[in-house]
Symmetry: C2
Subunit: 306 residues, 2 copies
C-alpha cells in the first residue's frame, strides 16, 4: 500500500503500523491521535511517518491524509467511532477502505451505517484479538499480532476486494484471519472477555469496599493476582465496551448468576459430589482448551506447568 492512516497510535494502532512497516508493506503511515504527546512520541519512535494531532487546528492535515489513503484504521475507543467517521467522511475518496479494531462490533456497525450512509460498503469491521494491560506508543511492537486472531465481520455491502484489503494487511502482520458476523462476534466476546472483565472488577471492588479490606489484600496471593489481572485494564474502555455490548453482556451475566445461584444452593446443602462435578468439568474443559491452544499456536508463556 502507498499510504495508511491510523487513528490512535497506542498499543493496537502502533503495533499494526510497526508490523506493516517491518514487512515493507506500506510506504507512508500517518498517525492521528487526540494526544499530541502520543502522536509526537509515535513519530519519534518511527512508528509513523507523519503525525497529525486530532484537533481543529490540524483539520486540513487530517483531510489531506484521508484523501489519498489506501486504508484507514480506527484503533480508538469504540465510543469515538461516530465522531471520527464524521470527521473523515467529507474527505473519503472512493478508493479508500476504512476498518476498525473495536472490541464490539454491532454498535460500531450501527454507528458506521448512521454516519457513512451509502458509503457503508467502504467500512469493513474488524477486531484483532491481542489486548494487553499496557498502552501507548511505547508499548507498540511489530510482532504483537503474530499467531493471534483477527476477526473480520464483513457487511453485505462490502465488496470482496474491500474485505481482502483489510484481511491481507492483518495477515501481513502475522494474524490468523477468522470471520464472524457482528452479532456472533458480540455474543462470543461477551462470554469469554466482557463478562470475565466485569466479574474481576466486581470482585476487587467488593473486597476493596469491606471494612477490613487491607487485611484481606494482605493475604491475597498469586491465584488472586491472576484472577484479577484484567481488573487492571482501563475503566473508561471497559465502561464503553460494557455499554456497547449491553444486551449480550446482560444475557451472559444472567446465565452466570443462575450458575452461581445453583452452586450456592448446592454448597449450602453440603453437596460435595455436585461441587466436585462442576469443578472437575471446568478443570477438564480448561485443560482441553489449553491443549488446543498449544497445538494451534506457539505455547503460551505461563501455562507450561499445568
Amino acid at each position: 500500500m502507498n499510504k495508511i492512516v491510523v487513528y490512535g497510535v497506542g498499543l493496537i494502532g502502533g503495533s499494526f503500523a510497526r508490523a506493516l512497516k517491518a514487512a515493507g508493506a506500506v510506504r507512508h503511515v500517518v498517525g492521528i491521535d487526540r494526544s499530541e504527546a502520543s502522536a509526537l512520541r509515535a513519530l519519534e519512535l518511527g512508528i509513523i511517518d507523519e503525525a497529525v494531532v486530532g484537533a481543529q487546528a490540524d483539520a486540513a492535515a487530517e483531510a489531506a491524509a484521508i484523501r489519498s489513503a489506501d486504508l484507514v484504521v480506527l484503533a480508538t475507543p469504540v465510543a469515538q467511532t461516530a465522531r471520527i467517521l464524521e470527521g473523515l467522511l467529507p474527505h473519503l475518496g472512493a478508493q479508500t477502505i476504512v476498518t476498525d479494531c473495536g472490541s464490539t462490533k454491532a454498535d460500531v456497525v450501527a454507528a458506521a451505517r448512521a454516519v457513512l450512509g451509502d458509503r457503508i460498503g467502504q467500512f469493513v469491521p474488524g477486531h484483532p484479538i491481542a489486548g494487553r494491560e499496557t498502552n501507548g506508543p511505547d508499548a507498540a511492537i511489530a510482532d504483537l499480532y503474530i499467531g493471534k486472531k483477527f476477526v473480520v465481520a464483513p457487511l453485505a455491502e462490502n465488496a470482496p476486494e474491500a474485505v481482502a484489503r483489510v484481511t491481507d494487511a492483518w495477515r501481513t502482520c502475522g494474524a490468523i484471519i477468522h470471520r464472524l458476523t457482528p452479532e456472533e462476534h458480540d455474543k462470543v466476546f461477551a462470554s469469554v472477555s466482557h463478562l470475565p472483565h466485569l466479574l474481576a472488577y466486581a470482585l476487587v471492588d467488593d473486597i476493596a469496599g469491606k471494612p477490613h479490606a487491607d487485611l484481606l489484600f494482605q493475604y491475597a496471593a498469586s491465584g488472586f493476582r491472576d484472577f484479577t489481572r484484567i481488573a487492571g485494564s482501563s475503566p473508561e474502555m471497559w465502561r464503553d465496551i460494557s455499554l456497547a455490548n449491553q444486551a449480550a453482556l446482560l444475557s451472559e451475566l444472567d446465565a452466570y448468576m443462575a450458575q452461581l445461584t445453583h452452586l450456592r444452593e448446592r454448597l449450602a446443602a453440603g453437596d460435595g459430589a455436585t461441587l466436585e462435578a462442576v469443578y472437575g468439568n471446568a478443570q477438564r474443559a480448561r485443560r482441553r482448551w489449553i491443549e488446543a491452544i498449544e497445538a494451534a499456536e506457539a505455547p503460551p508463556p505461563k501455562d507450561t506447568a499445568e
Copy 2:
C-alpha cells in the same frame, strides 16, 4: 531438629522437607504418603530419608516414625485430618508437636479437638500461603516458601514453645510468619482465595455447558487464561475446601452476588458513570495492592508491565 515426619510428600510437604534439609535444620525426614509411587519418588529425589506408605502394612513403621518425632507436619487434603490424627495419636509422644498446612482452619481445629482431646495443646494449626497448580514430589522445591506468608493460628491450649517450634521451622524455610485466629483465617481466605476459585470454576463450567462452547473457547485469549488459571486446580481439594469453609464462603458469595445484582441493574440502566466508578475503584485498589506487594516482597514475575 532430630526428626520430622511429613504426611503428604507433594508440593507443599516436599518443599517444606527440602527447605529444612537445605538449611541443615533437620537430621532425618520421614515421608508418609498414601501413594506408594509418591513416597518412593520422594525418597529417590532425596526429599525424604525414609518412606512409609500409609497403608495397613506399614502401621508399625508409621508408629515408629511418630514415636520419636520432634515435629509432625500434615500436608494432606484437609478432609483427611481426622483419619491421620487418629492413626498417629496412639504413638504420639509428649515431646512431639503436630501442625498442618490446610487451606481452612476452623474445621481442622474441630477435627483435631475431637480426635486429640486433652492432647490438643500439641496441635498447632498453620497454613503456608504458597499454592500452585503443580503437585507431586517432582514439583517440590527448597525455595518455595521464601518471602511467602505462613499463617499460624494458635489455640489457647498451645504452649508458646509449641508455637515457636512450628514458626521457627517455617521461618527457616524463608517464610514470613503471620498470626490469625482460625476464624479470622477462614474469613480472609474465603474472600481472597476460596470465592475466586468457585467463581473461576463456575465460569468455565458455564461456558463449557453452552451448545457453542467450542466456538467460544476458540476466541478466549490471555485475559481469560489468567482469569481461569485457578480453575486448573484440583477439584477434589477445592470441593473439600468449599465444604470445610462453607459458612464463610457462603457469606462471601452472597456479598458478591449482591454486587453482581447491583452491577447488572446499573448496566441494564445504561449507567456508564457507575460502571466506570466501580471499574476504576477496582483498578486503583488492585494497583495499590500490587505496589504494596512489590514494596514488601520480591517483585512478582508477571505484573511488571502494569
